[in-house]
């Protein structure tokens, strides 16, 4: 397949299409700009959330994830995602089912009831890797029309893009580079900050179990980014976006302080640097607002 004709099945999940469609619009628009098409996965469901359904019943989590994988297999396409939760579920399910024929047989018995089958013929890609390795930094750089030269970006990886290393295969989960590279391609700087590698606090049903505790966890992370003189935070996860953006409104209710620290999915940040508008990127429809510094 040539680069020009590359097409992915876009697994939307829940939060990207149903809460932050700006993430979907930004990702589709930029991929198209580089000749990469995305096709909708008709009938796809929740991935389902790995730390949540994986925590409640992994024997339900797995066939629901396998059904989503089977949809892409029927389309004869590889998958791209914009959420670490979706990545965590689909990539791990694919990994486990390929490694264990008995498990695959058991799962396919359930899917067979409605005529579907997991074969193991698709592959799950995070959009972060598609941007970094398929489009590539050089081609991205050529399209930057509004450089972010004086912007300090706090990079936040979330958890399930890098970890567990042995399943994800993107190298070290401590010594990171992919998101830093993508921020720096716009001219921005990516200062180290104390809680850079820390979780947003939402996963594993934690946000649902005790939201105030989960917000305090996030508050500490944001404070450490602000103390490092960062202007905004970029990340590769729609679920983190919900916590980090909507969570700031909830934090105001819980703690009486509103940070308005700008949160952007990485494709939205690159979109701004490519000259796309706040409106086109859906950044005017979220809790945190974009400072002039990001909008030259």
């Amino acid at each position: 397949m040539t680069e020009e004709s590359k097409t992915y099945a876009y697994f939307l999940g829940c939060i990207t299409p149903n809460r932050y469609p700006g993430i979907e619009a930004a990702t589709k628009t930029i991929l198209k700009e580089f000749g990469i098409e995305t096709e909708e996965m008709m009938g796809a469901s929740c991935c389902p959330a790995p730390g949540v359904f994986g925590s409640f019943d992994m024997h339900t989590w797995l066939p629901v994830a396998a059904r989503n994988l089977a949809i892409a297999e029927e389309m004869d396409l590889e998958i791209v995602v914009t959420c670490n939760g979706c990545y965590g579920s689909l990539q791990e399910a694919d990994h486990l089912l390929r490694a264990n024929p008995k498990l695959k047989e058991k799962t396919n018995k359930i899917l067979g009831e409605f005529g579907r089958e997991f074969k193991g013929t698709t592959k799950v890609h995070h959009s972060l890797v598609v941007f970094h390795d398929v489009i590539g930094l050089d081609r991205l750089k050529e399209k930057i029309t509004k450089p972010m030269d004086d912007v300090n970006v706090a990079v936040h990886y979330g958890c399930h893009f890098l970890k567990p290393r042995e399943v994800r295969g993107h190298g070290s989960s401590d010594d990171t580079y992919i998101l830093e590279d993508l921020a720096q391609v716009t001219g921005a700087k990516t200062p180290e900050y104390k809680d850079k590698l820390m979780c947003c606090g939402a996963g594993g049903g934690n946000r649902t179990a005790d939201s105030v505790q989960s917000l305090e966890w996030m508050r500490q992370k944001l404070v450490s980014a602000i103390e490092a003189d960062c202007d905004c935070m970029i990340h590769p996860c729609a679920f983190c976006h919900l916590q980090l953006d909507r969570g700031q409104e909830e934090m105001e209710k819980a703690f009486g302080i509103f940070f308005n620290f700008p949160i952007l999915f990485f494709t939205q940040f690159i979109g701004l640097a490519m000259g796309l508008s706040v409106k086109e990127l859906g950044l005017d429809e979220q809790v945190t607002t974009m400072p002039d510094k990001l909008l030259k």
Partner: protein
């Protein structure tokens, strides 16, 4: 029902492989998991203690510990364990066993309700459809929520695995039993 350790190996082993969870036996209580735990710095979650409770068969204590649910599954402990204990997957398996025995909060059970009703843990509504239109997308994506026959496939999985019974889901009201008359979450 065996010991908690045996149940962890049996229930989780089928998905992760038994050797994966048998790493629990290697725990030497060094505490590196607790030291790096982002939850532990704010909550009562002590991962080292959970591992020990699992090893000495403190089934009821661990199932009733609220902090069992304060792990965000961030995998920091899993990555750093010097003995290779697959800590996060051990915790997820313990949670599965706890949930099976009825230790599951109503808000956690509600996440299952949303997926069984709509195919999504976070479903779309009219306001979000407008957000989609504002960025030039079709008002509703072609996911399971839009296509009834596709949603029925998702529902069939939840029936086949008994997830519906586990959370006490009522197919007549499409809600938790006893929650249909505006019951509180």
């Amino acid at each position: 029902m065996g010991t908690l350790y045996e149940d962890i190996i049996d229930y989780g082993g089928e998905v992760f492989g038994e050797e994966h969870l048998e790493t629990l036996r290697e725990c030497v209580q060094c505490g590196k998991c607790t030291g790096g735990c982002p939850s532990g710095r704010n909550t009562a979650l002590r991962t080292r203690r959970l591992m020990q409770m699992a090893l000495v068969d403190m089934r009821e204590e661990i199932f009733n510990a609220p902090e069992l649910w304060f792990c965000s599954t961030c995998y920091t402990c899993y990555e750093r364990c010097p003995k290779g204990v697959k800590v996060t997957d051990v915790i997820r398996t313990i949670r599965n066993l706890a949930a099976k025995e009825g230790h599951m909060s109503v808000p956690h059970r509600m996440i299952g309700v949303y997926v069984m009703k709509t195919g999504h843990a976070v479903p779309i509504g009219p306001d979000q459809m407008k957000l989609r239109e504002a960025v030039g997308l079709e008002s509703q994506p072609p996911t399971a929520q839009k296509h009834k026959d596709q949603l029925e496939q998702v529902q069939a999985i939840f029936k086949a695995t008994g997830y519906d019974a586990m959370i006490d889901f009522d197919w007549a009201t499409m809600n938790l039993k006893g929650m249909d008359k505006g019951g509180k979450k």
